[in-house]
Subunit: 129 residues, 3 copies
């Protein structure tokens, strides 16, 4: 059963997975982390969240979409206590990334480890076009 | 690229995220936990699962939907051993919440921490209308 | 609000959840693990990944679908260090399972525990038909 996918691949893992896959008007994104294109990882959680959203916005742009298209997000954080202690800073950079009060669902759970030990957060989103 | 969303916001985090976002006939829900509207958290896992499903049913109702509309659920549990030791009680309250053998996919994984240390489970569901 | 679901149930948990639920052209699958139909769990991660994909392909086949229909996958791994140390072996069995460079999004996060202590990975996928 054939399905027509629009793909976006980029970065060091382009051979292994796509950053975005669209079928019809649903767009799935790979989990995005707080690492820049040049491999830099900001030390604090809020800065990593800001970077992760920049990466998300970059993938969305390849599909002609913006942050407004996101409907669902899941945060995986490595240190829930640190996250809850920094909620104002985290939600502030997040609201700036959306440019308004985000109109999305959110699930926030802890994880013992992400793919790089410097990472504090991975954000997985689903968008509708 | 504009998308038309139907939103449901409620509770203390209404400024930060939606409890439900519908586009066309797909409805994403924020992860729901075993905390009542008045902030009470039952001590045991099965009671938290029951409360989480009450919260899920409440969000679904805002979209004219019921538990029958759920297609996928992910359980994040903080204590897998406790969960597996209480499978009969957990699946019993779950079947009662659905009112029958649930016709949904399930993924059950551990998490080291949820947003409140009293919480033992967060349930993230996707529904189709 | 009634929704028409196509279900696939199998295995020891058939009373509790479906392995796959399709509505329209979207197919959700239950998280699949590296356990065979006869309850065997290979010792190493790459072999568990191979088995999990065999289980995924089996569920897809019940809906007339193949690995090509997958758009999104989430890996939950119990030992991220072991996973990163075995990336070549893991991605090799994965590419073999897809029969080509996978055209899917991927999210890879750690989990402290899966439903059986022998399990090292659970893979949750979404497919489009």
């Amino acid at each position: 059963m054939a399905v027509e996918k629009e793909l976006h691949k980029s970065g060091p893992y382009a051979d292994f997975f796509c950053q975005g896959v669209r079928v019809d008007n649903t767009l799935h994104l790979a989990g995005q982390v707080g690492m820049t294109d040049t491999g830099e990882v900001p030390a604090d959680l809020a800065a990593q969240v800001e970077t992760a959203y920049q990466n998300i916005a970059g993938v969305l742009a390849h599909f002609g979409a913006t942050m407004d298209n996101i409907v669902d997000e899941t945060f995986f954080v490595t240190d829930m206590q640190d996250c809850m202690a920094n909620v104002p800073a985290v939600f502030s950079v997040r609201e700036a990334a959306y440019g308004k009060k985000p109109e999305v669902c959110q699930t926030l759970v802890g994880t013992p480890a992400l793919v790089d030990p410097r990472l504090k957060v991975e954000i997985k989103v689903v968008a509708r076009l």
